[in-house]
């Protein structure tokens, strides 16, 4: 299957005055049509920066310093997004790549109506008549299951609930039928019941619009429910990537193991909760060697000196560890 | 977004408009074709144009073009001479000097005003004077002029004044025994005691007549609606910073004088002799309170005449006190004239420290460096004074000299030792009150402090607003204060009255000087009808004051007036304000610049 989006060697740094904080340190993955890739990790591991890097929306003082993001085009060869001029990149955003953000409460502009905001997403890319746009907006709002879309059209964001707002955000992201949907923690700020419904909606729309989805989350439950593949990030690198089932069944990286262990499960009340000891180091003090070694129960001498090379431990199962779990 | 666009367009249009001003702005103003416009500037706001209340020179400069008095001064003659104006002739004075019968000129009309039936000004009558003077006496009007002009002289007027304090509504029809009009063109004034200066006062602007119709129409607002008999009348609101006057169509036929002092005749001031006045069609007044803008406006030819700000003096006047060639080339002319004025630091003679210590006052007078003062603040436009009688006033003694107005620090120190003996110890810190809080007042106060510190005296200067200063004078709470006095009329009595005991605060004697010998001489002098006979008495009084030092006399001012040569028949007059009717603006001469 041809990947729609291929990311390799992506590096994004934050430079504050003379210090450089490497938030993303060489990330490779690819997204395929009709599939969802989950990107998990603790907060601060670089998931969101990775997602924003794909859109080239990294806020200052962040900067993409290396790597490539190739977007597959139906006709012609793949398009290298990172070297596009800003004006062309703008035409990619929203049309080819849609994005949903974590905070539905603040991600909508409070002073415009829902309708205006969805409409704008269409009108920046497609010169359509007023009426046609309107019909499409209402269609989109119906697609995301927003009740009573005709009247909601004229509502302001503050008149909607959190779940409804996230639906509107999805409608905006899908407005131009993008190939790739990047969802950055789309359900974190929502109630559990709403979460499930939004995730279901994303899956259904993915199938209907034949999109590739990148689902960024810290919640393994969400990953298990909504993805086919998972990539685990730690300190700006993907330390392990595998099909979701395989990863949950047989994690190879001690960090993944720790993450999985920390999820409480029914009937296993004796399991230790804080499975990963210690805290995530700050970006300004990334340990030498394997960056996980200070927290790793299996760390040996080599881990302190050398950073591990990626290795395959099974079909489509890649891990960066000197001593992977069996 | 749309709003933003509108704002942007408006802002840019305005900005463009303002930025383009330098391109269409022509500094020199040009008058309209065939209309003779006099452009005059005022250095201060007009306090008000209700005749009885005119006390400041600014209001007088404007009011003088609108209002007229019974008598006036010959414009071009020096020494100054009185002439009848609204009066047909000089008064007939009874033997005892108590009854004045004044014939009122016929054919004098008030300027047109909506107050009159049909809007047309009516003829002036004797009653208009009586009304005006009753208003001056009315306490509710709080006139500052009454006490110096009429108080204690006119039969029944003081009683009328007392009556106005009693009632809510003053009835101006109430008769006053001393003010009668036997017929519309005769005014009779009866005095309780002889008043040898009455004619001068009747040439003083506050005694101008008031039309009853105007009073009835405007009431308290009369102050904003000056209705007079003079050569010009106001159009628009004089409270704004620019306003104009136009020729009063009702003005009687009057001719340009044919007599002048020799020096003035030489300046060509008699060229228009015998021609009908006024020449000017319109006067445009501008109020510019800051000295610099006023000066720049004059240089730019936007106003016709001006003084010289001290900070520009060197730019205009050469070291030999003549106009610089550059200024002459611009068509600017200079008039230098002595001025009947005296500037001084007064002592409050009731103050225990300075009042009872003559050597102290003498020492301070000696320690004040007048030459430097005149140089620093007046660019040399002043004379070291002799005493209270200034130049231009009969009795002025140029050669007399004053032993205490020389700068002599050694002698001053000697006197200070004497003074400390009298005081029984060192002199405490002295307080100087300056009337004003502006830059110049501050610099002058500072100067006094510096001078006295050289003598070894410490001075604390209080800068106060004019009203506050007056309050302090009235309550006799000053210790030392700075003031000046400009003559109201050409008689030394106008200066010496400032030292007369009964005139102490709240009267005009702000020093509260009281000396029985002086008072006796004063009373003797003012009772003399012949001005010449008074002069020896004045000199004796002046000698007393020189020795007693109730004031530190600092300077007699010398006027340096500039004008553009298109302005003609212009010459300053010390007592006469309504001089614009004589002036003329030549349009064939280009604006300077």
């Amino acid at each position: 299957m041809n990947p729609v989006l291929e990311v390799s060697g992506l590096r994004t740094h934050f430079g504050i005055e003379k210090r450089v904080l490497p938030a993303v340190r060489g990330v490779d993955f690819s997204l395929s049509r009709g599939r969802t890739l989950g990107l998990v990790g603790e907060s601060g591991c670089g998931k969101t920066v990775t997602a924003l890097s794909l859109m080239r929306l990294v806020p200052r003082p962040g900067r993409i310093v290396a790597g490539s993001v190739r977007l597959d085009r139906s006709g012609g060869g793949p398009l290298e997004l990172l070297s596009l001029p800003e004006s062309r990149m703008r035409r990619i955003r929203g049309r080819e790549l849609g994005m949903i953000f974590q905070e539905p409460m603040t991600s909508l502009n409070p002073v415009f109506t829902i309708g205006e905001q969805v409409r704008e997403a269409i009108r920046v890319h497609e010169p359509l008549g007023k009426k046609a746009v309107r019909e499409r907006v209402i269609g989109l709002l119906r697609d995301v299951n927003l009740p009573d879309p005709e009247s909601r059209y004229f509502d302001y964001p503050h008149q909607l609930s959190g779940g409804q707002r996230q639906r509107v955000m999805i409608a905006i992201a899908l407005a131009c039928n993008p190939k790739v949907l990047i969802a950055d923690e789309p359900t974190t700020a929502l109630d559990v019941t709403v979460q499930a419904r939004i995730l279901g909606l994303i899956s259904r729309l993915r199938d209907r619009y034949e999109m590739a989805v990148l689902l960024v989350t810290h919640d393994l439950g969400v990953v298990a429910q909504a993805t086919e593949r998972v990539a685990v990030m730690y300190l700006g690198r993907i330390v392990e990537a595998a099909a979701t089932r395989r990863l949950f069944k047989a994690p190879a990286h001690p960090y993944t193991r720790g993450l999985l262990d920390s999820v409480p499960r029914l009937g296993e009340e004796k399991r230790r909760l804080a499975a990963v000891r210690g805290a995530v180091p700050t970006l300004s003090r990334i340990p030498a060697g394997c960056s996980f070694h200070p927290r790793c129960p299996r760390a040996g001498e080599v881990c302190r000196r050398e950073s591990p090379a990626p290795r395959e431990v099974g079909e489509g199962h890649r891990v960066e560890c000197h001593f992977p779990l069996e | 977004m749309k709003l933003w666009l509108i704002l942007g367009v408006v802002a840019l249009v305005l900005l463009g408009l303002f930025l383009s001003v330098p391109f269409f702005y022509r500094p020199a103003g040009v008058g309209e074709e065939g209309v003779m416009v006099r452009r005059a500037a005022l250095g201060a706001k007009i306090r008000g144009l209700d005749p009885h209340d005119i006390g400041d020179t600014t209001s007088a400069a404007v009011g003088g073009q609108i209002f007229e008095t019974l008598y006036t001064y010959a414009y071009l003659e020096r020494p100054y001479r009185l002439l009848p104006q609204l009066a047909e002739d000089f008064p007939e004075i009874s033997e005892d000097g108590l009854t004045y019968t004044i014939p009122i000129r016929r054919g004098v009309y008030f300027a047109d005003d909506p107050a009159f039936p049909g809007g047309e000004g009516r003829e002036l009558t004797a009653d208009d004077f009586i009304l005006a003077w009753k208003r001056m006496a009315d306490l509710n009007n709080r006139s500052t002029n009454y006490s110096s002009i009429f108080a204690g002289y006119v039969e029944g007027l003081d009683e009328f004044r007392a009556y106005t304090a009693e009632v809510d509504r003053v009835d101006y029809d109430l008769p006053v025994a001393g003010l009668r009009a036997p017929d519309p063109h005769t005014l009779e004034i009866r005095l309780v005691r002889p008043h040898n200066f009455l004619l001068y006062w009747l040439a003083h602007l506050p005694t101008a007549p008031v039309a009853r119709e105007a009073l009835e129409k405007y009431g308290e607002d009369l102050v904003n609606h000056p209705v007079g008999t003079g050569p010009f009348r106001l159009v628009g609101n004089y409270r704004s910073n620019r306003f104009s006057m136009v020729r009063n169509e009702n003005f009687r036929r009057e001719l340009y004088p044919d007599r002048a002092a020799e020096e003035l005749a030489e300046r060509g001031l008699l060229e228009d002799a015998g021609r009908e006045i006024p020449f000017i069609d319109r006067i445009e007044w501008t109020v510019i309170e800051e000295a610099q803008p006023l000066w720049l406006a004059f240089l730019a030819g936007k106003i016709d005449s001006s003084g010289i700000p001290k900070d520009n003096f060197d730019q205009v006047i050469t070291t030999d006190r003549e106009l610089s060639p550059a200024m002459k080339a611009r068509g600017i002319r200079l008039i230098k004239a002595e001025d009947p004025s005296i500037f001084y630091y007064g002592f409050n003679m009731e103050d225990p420290v300075v009042g009872e210590n003559r050597p102290l006052r003498q020492a301070m007078s000696l320690a004040f460096d007048r030459e430097t003062y005149i140089e620093t603040f007046l660019n040399g436009r002043g004379m070291v004074p002799t005493g209270p009688i200034p130049p231009m006033i009969p009795g002025f003694r140029e050669e007399k000299g004053n032993p205490y107005t020389r700068y002599d620090l050694d002698r001053a120190r000697g006197l200070l030792e004497e003074a400390e003996e009298i005081a029984g110890g060192p002199i405490p810190v002295l307080r100087l009150a300056m009337p004003g809080t502006d830059t110049t007042a501050r610099q002058m106060g500072e100067y006094f402090r510096i001078q006295m510190s050289r003598l070894g005296l410490e001075i604390e200067v209080d800068y106060m607003t004019w009203p506050k200063f007056q309050d302090a004078a009235k309550t006799r709470s000053h210790q030392i204060f700075s003031l000046g006095w400009l003559a109201d009329y050409p008689d030394a009595q106008n200066f010496l009255l400032l030292f007369y005991g009964p005139h102490r605060s709240p009267g005009p004697n702000s020093s509260n000087y009281s000396n029985p010998e002086f008072d006796a001489l004063y009373e003797e002098a003012i009772a003399l009808a012949d001005p010449e006979e008074r002069i020896p008495l004045y000199h004796r009084m002046e000698d007393i004051l020189i020795e007693d030092c109730p004031w530190i006399f600092t300077t007699y001012r010398v006027i340096y007036a500039l004008y553009h040569d298109r302005l003609q028949n212009y010459y300053p007059h010390d007592f006469l304000y309504g001089t614009m009717k004589f002036q003329r603006v030549r349009s064939d001469l280009p604006d300077s610049l």
Binding site: M55, P59, R60, S87, I92, G94, R95, G98, M99, F101, T106, S107, L108, N109, P110, V111, F112, E120, A121, V124, Y156 | M1, L7, G8, V10, A11, L14, F18, L19, V21, Y25, K45, R47, G48, D50, L139, R142, T144, Y146, A165, E220, V223, N224, R239, S240, R242, T286, I288, E289, E290, Q292, P293, L294, L296, A297, T465, P467, D471, K474, G507
Partner: protein, 328 residues
């Protein structure tokens, strides 16, 4: 909506009382007996007493609770505080001590010239400040932005008075580009000529502070999440700044603008003084120099009332700009 405004106005009542109380404390209690000033130099004690009665200064300063207890309502009401309230709230400020002119009339005649100076200065200033601030936010951290930031800090640090003195002496005086002073007798196009230099100086003086303030406001706004959303839609920088950011930034902008409104009416003390523009600022300076207490008192109260009025207008504007605000 209506009930909202009624409530807002009722809320203003204690503040209005507070203002009248402050002017009373300042000008009557601390300031002392005005009769000495009003009566003039030659008034006798009796006349002053007369005047004191006439103007109500013979009454006690404060209400006497004893009278109220004794049931003497009239006596309770007869005091200077209540008198001051009565004349202040009915805008009867009396006459100027300096000019004996009705103060209400003076204020009415001064408002026009003041507005003709301040309104253009305000409009131009606001437009330039916000536009420059937008450009800065648009290209933040660029050389342009850094230059503007530095220049605006430099601009704020120049004393206003020095700027005016310099502008008048050189732009008008030495180089003759503008009239040096003055104001036409009647309102007309020639006003432009006379207010040009003062307006430009006023704009120049306010530019630094304004740009700095609005730049911060707009930068804060550009960090908001909805901006990221808009960018993710593919909206260009221009659309983001003018379409999204500006409309949201209007709320802090309005707050800032309203603070300025009273000054539009009150004019500019220094500019009016230097350029001889007969507005309210000029009037105030003149009143201070002439110790004209009633005028200062009146301007203080009128200024405060205009400010409060402007606050009401702000609420209205908020509701117009921000859909989250409803006037209930």
């Amino acid at each position: 909506m209506l009930s909202y405004f009624i409530r807002r106005i009722l809320y203003l009542v204690p503040i209005l009382i507070g203002i009248a109380l402050i002017t009373f404390l300042l000008f009557r209690v601390v300031g002392g007996d005005p009769v000495d000033r009003v009566a003039g130099r030659y008034a006798t004690e009796e006349q002053k007493e007369e005047l004191r009665v006439q103007l109500g200064f013979d009454r006690p300063l404060w209400p006497q609770p004893g009278r109220l207890l004794a049931g003497d309502l009239d006596g309770f009401a007869r005091n200077q505080l209540f008198g001051h309230f009565a004349s202040t709230f009915t805008f009867r400020f009396g006459r100027s001590e300096q000019y004996r002119r009705s103060i209400s009339e003076m204020i009415r005649s001064g408002a026009g010239p003041s507005l003709s100076l301040t309104v253009p200065a305000f409009i131009i200033g606001l437009f330039l400040q916000i536009t420059i601030a937008m450009l800065c936010a648009f290209r933040r951290n660029s050389r342009f932005d850094r230059t503007v930031v530095v220049l605006s800090v430099l601009g704020i640090s120049v004393p206003y008075l020095a700027l005016i003195i310099f502008g008048q002496a050189y732009l008008a005086g030495r180089w003759g580009l503008f009239p040096i002073y003055g104001y036409p007798e009647r309102f007309g196009f020639s006003v432009v000529r006379y207010v040009a230099l003062p307006v430009l100086l006023g704009v120049a003086a306010g530019l630094g502070a304004g740009v700095r303030f609005y730049r911060t406001v707009i930068l804060d706004e550009t960090r908001a999440d909805y901006v990221r959303t808009a960018r993710a839609k593919g909206v260009g920088e221009g659309g983001v700044m003018f379409g999204h950011v500006l409309k949201n930034a209007l709320i802090p902008i309005i707050t800032q603008v309203v603070v300025v409104i009273p000054f539009l009416f009150l004019g500019s003390l220094l500019l009016e003084r230097f350029f001889s523009i007969p507005g309210l600022g000029f009037m105030l300076v003149d009143a201070v120099a002439g110790a004209d207490w009633p005028v200062i008192n009146a301007l203080t109260f009128v200024g405060a009332v205009i400010y409060l009025g402007a606050l009401l207008v702000t609420d209205l504007l908020y509701a117009l700009v921000d859909p989250r605000v409803t006037l209930k």
